[in-house]
């Protein structure tokens, strides 16, 4: 894996005096997929939102390919053109057809020729199995389809890094995999990503590295093997435990192996 694309150095963020991020540092290298997990309210969304400037940070610095992007600046839109982000709530533009949703950013923000982008958009829709939906309005799509469109919309900006915030949290269970498979496909293609998710199996499958965030600090960091099978901290073990169910026959599905002691 290549150079660091994103560097977050000791960022702090509080809302109304409550510290939500309390000194978070991390680095994402070219082509790397970093999954960020942690209990609800620990600051995962806030971290991603700070990275592309949807929230301002109180302290610390953020660098994109070595260039400082945090702090007050007038050209935030230029920074955001290089950082893709997809949310839980899809947020397609309801008054535009799928294709127009896809074209808006590349043609207006990047000023690329429409015909060229349209061709690329159709190819990408094809790849996610939605080519025939190009002329559909968002409200006629299922949640899983909307979210795949949202992913294509973000990717058509050719971002240097993609931030995904619990993109399957609002989906019915049977639609989760159709979306996550697209993400895995992107990861295979070498896309650099920071992913917040509660889907632990997916996290394990897609991650090169896992960050465990708790109460606004990175409590643990490691490979998926380390984190999911041998978490170092009691907190992480406890967190992972919350995704398992004790079977009435005393067998559990996603039991982290208990070899953390060594």
């Amino acid at each position: 894996m290549g150079e660091a694309i994103l560097r977050v150095r000791d960022i702090h963020k509080s809302f109304d005096g409550t510290g939500v991020l309390r000194g978070v540092s991390m680095e994402i290298r070219e082509g790397e997929v970093v999954v960020i997990v942690g209990p609800s309210g620990c600051g995962k969304s806030t971290l991603l939102r700070c990275i592309n400037g949807l929230e301002t940070i109180d302290r610390g610095e953020i660098f994109l390919r070595g260039e400082k992007i945090s702090g007050r600046r007038k050209d935030l839109h230029l920074v955001r053109q290089r950082i893709g982000m997809v949310f839980q709530s899809y947020d397609l533009f309801p008054h535009m057809k799928v294709m127009d949703n896809l074209l808006l950013g590349p043609t207006k923000a990047l000023g690329r020729p429409r015909a060229e982008v349209e061709k690329e958009a159709l190819e990408m829709l094809e790849r996610v199995g939605l080519r025939e939906k190009a002329c559909a309005l968002p409200r006629t799509l299922s949640g899983g389809q909307k979210q795949r469109v949202a992913l294509v919309r973000a990717m058509l900006m050719r971002p240097e890094i993609l931030l995904l915030d619990e993109i399957t949290a609002a989906l019915d269970p049977e639609m989760v995999s159709e979306v996550l498979n697209v993400v895995i496909d992107l990861a295979r293609g070498g896309m650099t990503m920071a992913i917040v998710t509660h889907e632990m199996r997916f996290a394990e499958a897609v991650a090169d590295r896992v960050l465990f965030l708790e109460e606004g600090v990175v409590l643990e960091e490691g490979t998926p093997e380390e984190f999911f099978h041998a978490p170092k901290t009691e907190r992480a073990r406890h967190f992972l435990q919350s995704f398992t169910y004790a079977s009435k026959r005393d067998k559990v599905e996603i039991q982290p192996k208990n070899n953390a002691g060594d």
């Binding site: 709530s89 309801p94 008054h95 973000a154």
Partner: protein, 223 residues
């Protein structure tokens, strides 16, 4: 009812209707422009202009049009600013209407969820592009019923123009009534004339609302 009287005075009413409609529409058009301007100044938080717009909206909405017209027609000439009756009519109606239109646009803008602006920002749109392509079209769709209600309200308000000695519908009727009786016929024709102007507008409003609903952004949630 005296049919002959009614027939004989149809041309008077037609010319009155033309005055009402023409100056009503001038006022509506200028109100839309002024309202949009005020609304943008406020949502872009332009310093100073934003406070001026806020003050203007309160002033215009909380004083009667009649008073505003007197001010323009009788007050301003005292300080050396003189407008023709027609200009006063359009300026007055715009002064009143701009405030109502601004509020209608604002309610539309506020109906667009913050997540839409964020989605626009995330694909690298500038603030102006975001408003133009993402927020405004959705805001307009929501604002359409209120905008049409304002159009109807403003055209009805033109009945005050008679104080400017303009021969609008109201003044035509008033003149006829005071000059020769036939009160019932005069008022009947007056009501009919306003109806003929405003019913099509109402119909248009209903059509526009229905079209927008079907156009597919009825479901604002989780799109």
């Amino acid at each position: 009812m005296d049919g002959a009287f009614i027939l004989a005075h149809v041309p008077d009413y037609l010319s009155g209707a033309w005055v009402t409609l023409r100056f009503g529409l001038y006022g509506v058009a200028c109100s839309l422009a002024l309202g949009l301007l005020c609304c943008l100044v406020r949502s872009f938080r332009v310093p100073v202009l934003r406070q001026i717009a806020g003050g203007y909206i309160e002033l215009a909405r909380n004083t009667p049009l009649l008073v505003q017209l007197f001010f323009l027609y009788a007050g301003l000439p005292r300080v050396g600013i003189k407008f023709s009756a027609e200009a006063c009519a359009v300026i007055g109606l715009t002064f009143l209407g701009g405030a109502y239109m601004a509020e209608a646009f604002r309610s539309g803008l506020e109906s667009v969820d913050k997540s839409q602006t964020e989605a626009g920002a995330c694909i690298g749109l500038t603030r102006a592009q975001n408003i133009r392509y993402v927020v405004f079209p959705q805001a307009l769709a929501t604002a359409v019923p209120a905008l049409f209600a304002n159009v109807i309200f403003l055209i009805k308000e033109t009945s005050v123009f008679s104080v400017l000695a303009m021969m609008d519908l109201m003044n035509v009727a008033d003149t006829l009534r005071t000059s020769g009786g036939h009160t019932v016929e005069v008022l009947f024709m007056l009501a009919a004339a306003y109806l003929m102007i405003l019913l099509p507008v109402s119909l248009l409003a209903t059509l526009a609302e229905r079209r927008l609903r079907y156009a597919g952004f009825g479901d604002r949630h989780s799109v």
